[in-house]
Symmetry: C2
Subunit: 509 residues, 2 copies
Amino acid sequence: MTNSDQDLELIEENFRDIALLESIASTLGWDERTGLPDEAGEYRAHQITLLSGLIHDRRTSPQLGERLSRLADSSVTTDPNSNQSVTIRCLQKDFLRHSKLSKSLVEAISNATVRGEQAWAVARPKNDFASFLPFLENILALRKEEAAMLQVGNQTLYDALMDQYEEGATVAIIGPVLNNLRQQLVPLVQRCAEAKNRPDGASLSRSFDIDQQRKLSRWIASKIGYQFSQGRLDETDHPFCTSLGPYDHRILTRYDANHFNSGFFGTLHEAGHAMYEQGLPKGAFGMPMGTAVSLGIHESQSRLWENMIGRSHAFWSWCFSEVQKYFPGTLDDVSGDTFFRDINRVEPSLIRVDADEVTYNLHILIRFELEQALLSGDLQATNLPEAWREKYTKYLGVAPTNDHDGVLQDVHWSAGLIGYFPTYALGNIYAAQLMDAAREQIEVVGNEDLDVQIRRGEFSPLLEWLRTNVHRYGRQMNPRALVEKATSKAFAAAPLVKYLSEKIEHVYG
Amino acid sequence: MTNSDQDLELIEENFRDIALLESIASTLGWDERTGLPDEAGEYRAHQITLLSGLIHDRRTSPQLGERLSRLADSSVTTDPNSNQSVTIRCLQKDFLRHSKLSKSLVEAISNATVRGEQAWAVARPKNDFASFLPFLENILALRKEEAAMLQVGNQTLYDALMDQYEEGATVAIIGPVLNNLRQQLVPLVQRCAEAKNRPDGASLSRSFDIDQQRKLSRWIASKIGYQFSQGRLDETDHPFCTSLGPYDHRILTRYDANHFNSGFFGTLHEAGHAMYEQGLPKGAFGMPMGTAVSLGIHESQSRLWENMIGRSHAFWSWCFSEVQKYFPGTLDDVSGDTFFRDINRVEPSLIRVDADEVTYNLHILIRFELEQALLSGDLQATNLPEAWREKYTKYLGVAPTNDHDGVLQDVHWSAGLIGYFPTYALGNIYAAQLMDAAREQIEVVGNEDLDVQIRRGEFSPLLEWLRTNVHRYGRQMNPRALVEKATSKAFAAAPLVKYLSEKIEHVYG
């Protein structure tokens, strides 16, 4: 056994342990959001804090750094594109990042965010931003401290945070793209508002038995390719997807007895995330080759299934009669076309997760701007509710009358996720690019239009295409390179705008 | 700060971490038995194995041993009955025990039992003892190896295992008591079989809507004093209770749509366990003063609530009309007295957890004898199904036709729990002693008979008595000393025999 072989083996062992500890922490996180007893929150925070300390120790041990340096200089990495080279490059980058952070800061952030999430869960139903504020201020201060330690080159503090979710993303690069997107979307929203024949969404606001919604969600998730033998579907306040191991990718949604969307589309969205995780190379779980490349790409998978498939005409020409059967009597007077138009209604609204595909990006832009202001110090957390209302009025023409539907609507900040929101808009952009390529290539291979398959309820060719062109690569390329390789096109927002324009043409005429 | 203070502080920190890691492992265990995805089992075993290694390191660090020795010789332990002395004595005993075991053995046992439980869960529904056998053989070999390392004085291998669950219990002490109990119970069983007017249990074998059973279980658990703010109630194949933290004591039961008992009495039983845990000193969670003293005492709490309260005439004279309301129409033709007699029907049967109070102890005796034979080598695991049938025929006059209802019925062996079953019989004995004392003392204090309170659905004086006389002591005394202090009586089986005789007199006339 050479020295390099030994280094590799010890590194793999180290990361196997890290993956185990992280997946254990994910299990505690899943448990926390599926019915943790009221009084158990504080001890749960201590448990997660201990784990994050153990993980940090293993991520930053000096021996790991030495081994990675030796390997980076060895013959193991002669071919820069080999799996081993990629792995060592990613691990070295991660190591340098983690080594910059003190263990006490890592533990403090872990503790602050577990408690922040708990405080948020209490504050939101009570519209009580004031009780959440000290937790948020603490989180912001700690994340700023972290950003200052991580900052490199001419990164702003905010760039340093974004980089963790989307490698290479900076305000300078993303800002103009999102602003440009906004300029193209505003006329679309306007066109919908002025159309003669507008869907009113009435077919969605009916009474949908929750037990039947549960069954429908299980059925559709399984139908599009989510594997229940490697996951489960549960309920929570704020839907999410989490991986508890290479064969355990769980999804959570929420049901509204009086509205169709949140349960059904929440399931499609989270299943899209989970199917990406289920498609990553199992043997490399916890290693770069077995890890999602970025949140933007992750979101591209969820939005693709939720919207580009789940809100398509082809999908509903197949699915509507099935849905009718799940709710006997409820949708008898509705046609598939009406339902399709209702789920594609464009209307400025308050809640991001319930927003339509067009205005959704404006919700993201608001958070993106507020986060930058919080990080730069231009905005104090205590003034967030006010700033929130101003931005909503300005960009969407609507403003919340309470914080439940305003600044408290998302779990992200309570969980310390700052710089994370912009990846949602990137996800939409990537998804549109990937769909164009998938359509083209599936038609060439199968000599059949993708929509024809969807109209038969057949999703495996599309999932297979995503597995082959996206999932299986792990972190082998950076997100933009991955999309370019899969699509043979440069990164651009134009496909998203084209897709949305066509959809609006179809729905609004 | 003196050296002793510093030693104490570091020891407390060490055990705080151990308690965190153990409660994390319990969380993974809970999750594993409430819907783990089919393919996720192997990775879950790796997670738990990693944790048990981390725990073992902290339980057996040489510094811990040195600190404990120093404290045992210091002025901190001058008063042998002080909390600190008790704590140090318990920790030192635990340390010596854990230090005898190699980390590799501890990890091997952990891995073998996680996989054993998974194999059992697959094997039982398929009646497939053969597929479970290699897992069981592996567990037995490892536990024997452990016993050989732990053995002290003239302990047998089996004694060394029992000691972990019930300090000081040996075959020499327990064997005669259980045999004696058997001799006294056999005529009672006989008397029931020969009685003229025997309950047939028909009122229990009806259709009980599972959703209503869930609601009833929540209601009754809360009514007797289980705090849902510090726990939750879920469903699983093999009911259990587990503590995930000082404020998180969860119970799990199973419902049978065609039988009343398993959901209702399973809930009472597990709630009894959980109420003990909820009554331990919170601040000492994970330390001896905050830990249950023994499994026998633990079982005394569950059996007391399940049987001595939950199957009493007083209880049903209050509860029956409530139960009727949960299942409209189902029990209209049944009287409270008939129901009381049906739930107290004595009848030799195959399944321990469904057994009546009298024959239950015979189920335990069978396992106790089989375990001893397995440990001594007189019995090979491969011959267990046959030996099982022989014992059942001999002691109960019935024998299973399949392993699902025979040797595969209990989860214990698959989880490595060997030497554990006898604590169930000890629990019955302790419970009868404690009930006698509680009755007497509650009547003196409240000037009211306990049964009068129960007939009003009032359980808090009894729970308060248990908290004061049992729960709050943690491991301060050994189990027998605790019972003697609480009851002012020597440890004896007579109260249990008396209680059962009176019950049978009431039910069978």
